[in-house]
């Protein structure tokens, strides 16, 4: 669909937490630390969640400027000093560094690179801190820098240049001294890049590196300890908030793991956020770090898929704050109203189900039947009347939250597009709320785009020539396979919704037999691209657990599925899934003809709310 655009402030547009002023960050921040309390406690932590799940916002809140405002305290009384170390994709992971992989220089140079990066951010944070203590503080800072920074750097191979020919100027204030140290870290970081540039087109021999080389234990940790001991500093741990550590290369990741393994967590805690693509848990010494031994682990997705009511509440609060900040007085539910005509018709079906329950009810209570069947019946009746069957409206705050699949980003992005559309259509007038028609159109367009509808056009006549156990599957073929798999599963779930089965709302599959590696690669690719989430359930034999693959509800509008609940899953076999991958159209015709019940075994899933 064509989206109209107007120039103005969109309450749902993407905001980079790092760029928010402390006051605005506080206004927008929804306290999630009751869910993620381990992050605020001393000790190393890993915070895992897809992009857009709120990790960066959490780290922003932990920075001293936000903490000072939130707690109304002094710098010295802060419970920790949070230093944001935001790792952008290609800040550290330079392509040239690939030349060093499998060479002994990789670890040493990458550790020095990472140390300078972190140290620069530490000094940046301290240069902005409201340090009290005047000349005493200045003197302390000068001493620490002289011995623990410049002195150690010299011993590590740094050659003091004319710019740093004197000791730290005792007449400069603390902030100025920290800025000078930060500038030196930036220069040493740049020296590594200048060396690395020479590697770009050298396939065989490495030019010699003659700069400084610093590590965590000989440089960074002692420096942080010494800084922490200064009289004006919080007498609490320093938290290094390593945001998006997936963007480290393999060597850098192993370096960071080695830091985590050093058990310095009570004084210097490493809080590492990842987008579930962390490259390894191995250290440079060949050991593996693990939870809870070396760090505490928090998985955002697990928490919000296990407690969907909690997620709904969080989104409501976030949206309410955004609307308030933008000057809207409406609640999220008022701003994103349901299609009341549709809901009225569903309510009629609900009443009928309640009335029929004593004689024909399937659930334990009448309300069980209402929840399970009202919406599916409505959708199936739509399909009966009209050929397309696609007039179900996904408007309404709660439906949009369900469709976002536990990630706030997948609520806010479509909301931004909806707002922009309304704004453009208003032609300069005010936007009061998002009309159901616009909500529905945009969310359907987003789902269709996610499904890459163009695949059909491209591969319409192609069938996938793959078989089980064929070994390495070419990645291009895997992408086609993934599309076919999703198309098939989406179609099966839709058939299930329209059926007369006892559980019609299904979004997940588990294998009753052992899937072969090639098929697992396809599912793994799906997880990588965000089409599936992986969970686990008890296996069929009751002898252990088996993976459960949950299709993202973001695709619900594309396949006309009910996003508001999914209490069931299907057991599938390796052979069935290969059928689905090879020829989804033929597979779906077979499912339609025989019925989902006869092709798959269904199970109730107690993990989710009904």
């Amino acid at each position: 669909m064509k989206i109209e655009i107007a120039d103005s402030t969109n309450p749902f547009s993407v905001k980079t937490p790092e760029d928010l002023e402390a006051a605005e960050a506080l206004r927008l921040f929804v306290d999630v630390f009751t869910d993620f309390y381990k992050i605020r406690e001393p000790g190393h932590s890993m915070l895992n969640g897809p992009r857009g799940s709120g990790k960066s916002m959490m780290f922003r809140f932990l920075q001293p400027d936000c903490q000072l405002l939130a707690r109304n305290s002094t710098f010295q009384d802060l419970p920790f000093l949070g230093v944001l170390v935001s790792i952008k994709n290609t800040d550290l992971k330079l392509t040239e560094l690939q030349r060093l992989e499998d060479r002994h220089a990789a670890a040493v140079l990458n550790e020095h690179f990472l140390c300078m990066y972190v140290a620069s951010r530490v000094f940046l944070t301290l240069s902005r801190a409201p340090i009290e203590g005047g000349s005493v503080a200045r003197k302390e800072v000068g001493e620490v820098l002289r011995h623990q920074f410049y002195g150690v750097l010299e011993r590590s191979g740094w050659q003091r240049g004319r710019r740093e020919s004197k000791d730290p100027d005792s007449t400069s204030d603390a902030s100025h001294l920290f800025n000078a140290a930060k500038a030196l870290c930036d220069r040493l970081y740049a020296e590594v890049i200048n060396y690395v540039k020479r590697l770009a087109f050298e396939a065989t021999s490495l030019p010699p590196y003659t700069g400084a080389l610093c590590g965590y234990l000989d440089f960074l940790y002692p420096l942080l300890e010494a800084l922490r001991e200064m009289s004006f500093m919080p007498k609490k741990p320093i938290y290094l908030l390593m945001d998006d550590a997936d963007y480290l290369n393999l060597s850098q990741t192993m370096v960071l793991n080695s830091w985590i393994s050093t058990r310095t967590g009570r004084t210097v805690s490493l809080k590492v956020s990842t987008q579930l693509k962390y490259k390894t848990y191995s250290t440079l010494g060949g050991m593996r770090i693990s939870s809870p031994h070396d760090y505490s682990e928090v998985n955002i997705s697990d928490i919000y898929t296990s407690h969907r009511g909690k997620y709904l509440g969080r989104v409501e609060e976030i949206v309410r704050k955004r609307l308030l900040l933008a000057g809207f007085e409406k609640s999220p539910r008022e701003f994103f109203p349901r299609d009341e005509e549709q809901e009225g018709r569903i309510a009629t079906i609900e009443e009928q189900l309640r009335a029929d329950w004593p004689q024909k009810g399937r659930g334990f209570r009448a309300s069980d039947d209402v929840v399970r069947y009202a919406r599916p019946i409505f959708i199936s009746r739509l399909k009966g009347r009209r050929k397309a069957g696609s007039t179900y409206s996904y408007a309404g705050f709660e439906q949009l939250v369900h469709i976002s699949s536990g990630l706030i980003r997948y609520f806010l992005e479509p909301a931004a597009l909806m707002y922009s559309e309304e704004e453009a259509l208003a032609g300069g007038g005010e936007v009061g709320f998002i009309r159901p028609r616009i909500q529905n159109e945009v969310i359907r367009a987003v789902a269709d785009e996610l499904m890459m509808s163009e695949f059909d056009r491209i591969f319409a006549d192609d069938q996938i020539d793959l078989g089980p156990g064929t070994g390495e599957v070419d990645r291009e073929l895997m992408k086609q396979s993934l599309h076919n798999l999703i198309k098939s599963l989406g179609g099966v779930f839709h058939q299930k919704l329209l059926s007369q089965d006892s559980e019609r709302r299904v979004f997940s599959v588990a294998f009753s037999d052992r899937p072969d590696p090639d098929l697992m690669q396809v599912f793994q690719l799906g997880i990588e691209f965000g089409y599936f989430q992986r969970s686990s359930i008890g296996n069929k034999d009751g002898t252990g657990r088996t993976p459960l693959y949950v299709l993202t509800r973001r695709l619900a509008p594309h396949f006309t599925l009910d996003p508001t609940g999914f209490a069931g899953y299907l057991f599938v076999t390796n052979e069935r899934m290969w059928e689905a991958v090879r020829d989804p159209n033929a597979f779906l015709r077979k499912v339609k003809k025989r019925g989902v019940k006869h092709m798959f075994e269904e199970r109730q899933l107690r993990l989710f709310d009904a």
Binding site: K2, I3, E4, I5, D7, S8, T9, N10, S13, V14, T16, E18, D19, R51, G52, S56, S86, K88, N89, T90, D91, K93, L94, T95, E96, Q98, R99, M116, Y117, S120, R121, F123, L124, K182, C185, D186, Y189, A190, I193, N194, V196, K197, A200, F201, A203, E413, A416, L417, Y419, S420, E421, E449, M452, E454, I458, E476, K479, F529
Partner: protein, 317 residues
């Protein structure tokens, strides 16, 4: 230098005289043969034909056809997933070539990937300092042909984002990030770039309507542009002449200079000529990094139809 018609190559009008070295790339686009088809290949002494070996099955025999124009050519294996392999392959081939000081090199940049082109540009500059190097670009009559404007697409998704080998930039960890994008069709790729980098500042450049036929490509780019603005409202906008590398370079220099205290990454997603402009900007200002966003899926069946226009550019211009 400047603009000509592709068939002017045949009469020797566009590129008179012997070509000491021709460099081209195989592609699923038939445009990979536009220059070779008209060039007087009997007057080409040496040739290097590169091909992405991990995409051979998508090239539908174009490799054989292109190499057929240059008997005895040096075949170079590239790999879209491995910039080191690409760089090493190109360098090894270029090291085999000896050219006279007054020699002439023609590089058909039309269907190299943006990343391979940027790498090749650095290698050619280092290898042939005194030789005349002409970069040739054959235009497209239509992109995503056969599709309505609002349905046009060239690529989907982003598989990997990486710095381009040879253009790492010189960043300061304490600085914020300014992402500059030369926008093409791939608004989805741009959204992914912004999402991954989380820049503090975004500047989006859209190509100015150029010579005949090029403005037809613009509407779908604007549609995607609008979507980006909805999501990332604060983006700056600028325009650039997408068929003029030198002018593109100047625009990029200006855009960078307007926000001096930022680390700068440029993503060149428009024409290959404007990508050369980005290369020149990054070479002149080594603090600038160039990045490459590899797509998940390319519209290999309907990517482009060959056009009639030929652009020629030399760094001496």
């Amino acid at each position: 230098m400047g603009r000509a018609r592709v068939h002017d190559l045949g009469g020797g009008r566009a590129l008179p005289g012997v070509v000491d070295l021709f460099i081209g790339s195989v592609s699923y686009e038939d445009r990979c043969m536009s220059v070779a088809r008209w060039l007087k290949t009997s007057e080409v002494r040496l040739s290097i034909i590169a091909e992405n070996m991990n995409h051979v099955e998508f090239h539908r025999g174009n490799g054989e056809r292109l190499r057929g124009y240059f008997p005895g050519c040096m075949a170079v294996n590239l790999d879209t997933a491995s910039p080191l392999r690409t760089a090493d392959g190109l360098r090894a081939a270029l090291d085999e070539v000896d050219l006279p000081e007054d020699g002439k090199v023609v590089v058909d940049i039309t269907t190299f990937t943006h990343e391979a082109l940027l790498i090749l540009f650095q290698l050619v500059r280092r290898r042939f300092r005194r030789v005349q190097v002409i970069y040739a670009y054959a235009s497209a009559r239509e992109y995503a042909y056969g599709l309505a404007v609002e349905e046009k697409w060239l690529s989907r998704g982003v598989e990997d984002v990486r710095s381009v080998l040879g253009y790492p930039g010189t960043f300061r960890p304490s600085r914020k990030l300014h992402l500059i994008v030369l926008v093409g069709f791939e608004h989805e790729r741009i959204g992914e770039l912004i999402s991954q980098y989380e820049p503090s500042l975004v500047s989006l450049g859209y190509g100015e309507p150029g010579p005949r036929g090029t403005s037809d490509h613009i509407p779908s780019a604007i549609l995607g542009f609008g979507r980006l603005k909805a999501l990332y409202g604060g983006a700056n906008e600028f325009s650039f002449p997408c068929f003029d590398p030198i002018a593109t370079k100047e625009v990029l220099k200006g855009t960078t200079a307007r926000h001096p205290k930022y680390n700068v990454i440029i993503a060149a997603l428009n024409t290959k000529l404007s990508t050369l402009g980005a290369a020149l900007a990054a070479i002149e200002n080594e603090e600038v990094q160039l990045c490459y966003a590899q797509a998940v899926l390319y519209n290999i069946r309907r990517y482009s139809l060959p056009g009639d226009d030929l652009y020629l550019f030399s760094c001496a211009d």
